[in-house]
């Protein structure tokens, strides 16, 4: 449930007793499919491919049907339907079967086991399929063919050249491009611009200034920070971002590649100490540790706290709660030292809302073509407008009038340039992500210190590195 805005939106919907039962049944009942576990017979019969022409570069069989499964979360599924309409316009004989659903994993898992998957899947939201597992099981088609095809509305460019920095990497697992992500998320610290202006506060560039500012905010009777305590990964984001700025790309690599003692790097311990100090000085709103994302974000919107860490989906998530004139904007995480390897403008950014084409899809070429249409500039533009979210396609917001929040996000992405990074361990090694979250929650609640934090996380990383059952990736 990490780093995917839509999953957080939907995580307000709790697992019901029924979900529990179905989980139990699924665990108990999976062996019913054991026939497929040991003998993989049957499965989809491929529709093959048609002739490749300039107009049909992926060689889509014109009369084959197309089954599209979309996660219907915060972004709805209208954008997907309009891409489907374009598809049928182009291939009038093709029958498009659209499914907008939630809990994609539970719905599609049996179909992946039986090798009868749909042609395109938006694998997002809570209860989605675990990507590394799908990749390791060889269930996904390589999207390289699509990336090298001409872009839908600018045929002189390849699809891969229309995407924002890092998008192709985000979908790459072990040298294979397994997914293509539609939205581009930037993480940072959020505040109300008018509130800061009213008090004459300036958003800080260094951590020392941040602490000074926090003292001032506290004096004004407002809690300086709050965070989504029920899901500690939220406060990990600014902390690990600050460490990455200090340690640079080398740190990212050593952490993600599970190198020995990577988590004991001075940059990480420094950032952990900084956050321990933030908590120790009482700059985090009391009670934050037990608040869900909705509760803490609501408290922030009500002006009880001045700053909150979050990704760029925050504006749309807070749509119904934000008072008029609140005008939230995002600031980048301050620098901790003067010798940081990345500039203060560097951002943690990643693409999400993963689209994939199953290897055993009936109409694989059609699935790829559908993604080519969906990732066109025109389609991305209407997505950006409808959802006030930055799409992963370059220039998709050109000519649109954007809210202050989205403007600050776009400006941050532009200012960062190539210094947009993300840790990959979260999606590669879910058990390590859990260990980091738990340790950080202990750290910012003053139950362990920075050194103990590093020791704990390193132990978890070593355990993953040693575990032969986990497929390893490197960057």
């Amino acid at each position: 449930m990490v780093h995917f805005p839509s999953s957080r939106v939907s995580s307000t919907v709790p697992a019901s007793r029924r979900a529990v039962l179905s989980a139990a049944v699924a665990v108990a009942a999976t062996p019913v499919l054991a026939g497929c576990v040991t003998s993989s017979g049957g499965g989809n019969e491929s529709a093959g491919s048609g002739a490749k022409t300039a107009d049909n570069p992926l060689g889509v069989p014109a009369d084959a049907g197309l089954e599209v499964v979309i996660f219907k979360g915060g972004y709805g599924d209208d954008y997907a339907k309009s891409a489907e309409a374009t598809y049928t316009q182009k291939f009038p004989k093709a029958k498009v079967d659209h499914k907008g659903i939630q809990r994609v994993g539970e719905a599609l898992q049996p179909r992946f086991v039986a090798d009868t998957p749909p042609d395109v899947v938006d694998n997002s939201g809570a209860g989605r399929l675990d990507l590394p597992t799908l990749v390791a099981s060889g269930k996904l088609a390589d999207l390289t063919e699509l990336l090298d095809a001409p872009a839908y509305d600018s045929p002189d460019k390849k699809v891969r050249d229309t995407l924002l920095a890092g998008v192709v990497d985000d979908g790459t697992f072990g040298g294979k491009v397994a997914t293509l992500n539609l939205t581009y998320t930037v993480w940072g610290m959020w505040y109300s611009k008018p509130l800061f202006d009213k008090h004459g506060w300036a958003y800080p560039q260094t951590w020392a200034d941040m602490l000074t500012l926090c003292e001032e905010i506290k004096k004004a009777g407002i809690a300086p920070w709050t965070y989504q305590g029920k899901y500690p990964e939220y406060i990990n984001d600014p902390m690990l971002t600050m460490a990455a700025k200090t340690g640079g790309t080398d740190l990212l690599k050593s952490v993600d590649n599970l190198e020995p003692n990577a988590w004991k790097n001075a940059a990480l311990i420094g950032a952990a100490e900084a956050f321990a100090e933030l908590a120790g000085k009482g700059y985090i709103m009391a009670g934050s540790e037990a608040l869900s994302h909705t509760e803490s974000q609501a408290a922030w919107c009500q002006g009880k706290a001045a700053l909150i860490p979050c990704g760029s989906w925050l504006e749309s998530e807070q749509k119904g709660v934000t008072p008029a004139g609140f005008d939230m904007v995002m600031g980048t995480v301050p620098s901790l030292t003067t010798s940081d390897k990345m500039k203060v403008t560097a951002i943690e950014a990643a693409s999400s809302e993963s689209f994939l084409v199953p290897a055993k899809a009936k109409n694989k070429q059609g699935g790829l073509e559908y993604l080519r249409i969906l990732f066109s500039k025109a389609s991305a533009k209407s997505f950006a407008q409808a959802n006030s979210t930055l799409p992963a396609i370059a220039g998709a917001t050109e000519g649109l009038s954007l809210s202050p929040a989205l403007t600050s996000v776009r400006d941050a992405a532009e200012a960062a340039g190539t210094e947009a990074f993300s840790y990959r361990f979260r999606s590669w090694y879910a058990p390590l992500a859990k260990a980091v979250d738990d340790a950080t929650a202990e750290l910012v609640n003053k139950r362990i210190n920075a050194q103990a934090w590093a020791d704990r996380v390193q132990k978890a990383a070593d355990a993953v590195a040693k575990d032969t059952t986990v497929t390893k990736y490197t960057r």
């Binding site: 665990v27 993989s40 992946f112 675990d130 500690p232 009391a286 608040l291």
Partner: protein, 302 residues
């Protein structure tokens, strides 16, 4: 027509048995098999890994946390729930001023206490999450309102309180049912026994200990089995209500949550099946002990 009768009985039983074998027994059997493999949940094949998954359980810190928490719940939840259930049921029957009658408004209380049973566990968990909210929750709000603000806590985020907070919710949501169960059992006790006891000068407590309790012993034993199984689960409440979930730092982790996370987040269905099989045997052992344990003592017949 004996022959025809057997044919009829077999004809009636076989379809049900086939369905039972197909949808109940075979998944169980195959979960045992899967627990010996490295199945990922989506792969077309699973490799046999022997007892490897079970060996890993011993080194899995979160799973051990879960075992410890489930053990605590297994002791506390049934004892407290049954204790409160018995207390409420006997107050509704014998708590009135003139013994032999319940407190005034007993019928009304009986319905009110049963209310939580009508709510789905998911709703119960969400409601209690609001109650426990440290800043504007009902619990801290009440404490502050009556001048006990010093007792206000971050109930679900403090390691030494979180599990107790979870157990409170489980007890709250199940006590109504057991109150009704024990009430029904007490209805079946002949009034003459109580009359005789009162004439002999027995007080409320000794009436309860010497008459009521022995006569509802069978129901209490069944309650222990049910509550024991519920205490070994706890998944829904923990998953929805706690921080993490399962937190802070594993202090509310339960076996069901570890199982769910390993299967559906980590894609380790084989390992998760091993947890499921372990849970299955734990439940079985506890049920057997609870049912056998009571049998040794003398039965009281009315």
């Amino acid at each position: 027509m004996k022959h025809g009768r057997y044919r009829f009985i077999i004809g009636a039983l076989v379809p049900a048995l086939i369905l039972h074998a197909l949808f109940v027994l075979s998944p169980y059997a195959q979960a045992f098999y899967l627990s010996l493999t490295d199945w990922t949940g989506v792969a077309g094949n699973a490799h046999f890994v022997g007892w490897g998954n079970y060996a890993r359980l011993g080194g899995d810190a979160l799973f051990l946390d879960a075992l410890r928490n489930n053990a605590v719940m297994l002791v506390a939840v049934p004892v407290v729930t049954i204790g409160i259930g018995l207390f409420l049921a006997s107050m509704l029957h014998l708590g009135g001023r003139r013994s032999l009658h319940g407190v005034r408004g007993a019928a009304f209380y009986k319905i009110v206490y049963f209310f939580p049973q009508l709510l789905s566990l998911a709703i119960v968990a969400v409601l209690w999450q609001f109650v426990y909210n440290p800043n504007n929750g009902l619990l801290n709000g009440t404490l502050r309102g009556v001048g006990l603000g010093g007792l206000a806590r971050s109930w679900l985020a403090e390691p030494n309180l979180a599990l107790a907070a979870v157990m409170t919710v489980i007890v709250w949501s199940s006590v109504g049912f057991y109150m009704v169960l024990f009430s029904a059992a007490m209805d079946a006790i002949p009034k003459e026994l109580y009359e005789a006891a009162i004439i002999d000068g027995a007080g409320g407590w000794s009436t309860f200990r010497r008459i009521t309790l022995p006569l509802v012993r069978d129901n209490v034993r069944v309650a222990f089995v049910y509550l024991g199984i519920a205490a070994l689960d706890g998944f829904a409440i923990v998953q929805i209500m706690t921080v993490g979930p399962g937190g802070p730092d594993g202090h509310t982790e339960v076996i069901g949550l570890s199982l769910y996370r390993n299967a559906f987040t980590y894609g380790k269905f084989g390992y998760a099946s091993a947890m499921g099989v372990t849970l299955f045997f734990l439940t079985l052992v506890i049920a057997v002990f609870a049912l056998r344990g009571g049998r040794a003592t003398d039965r009281v017949e009315v």
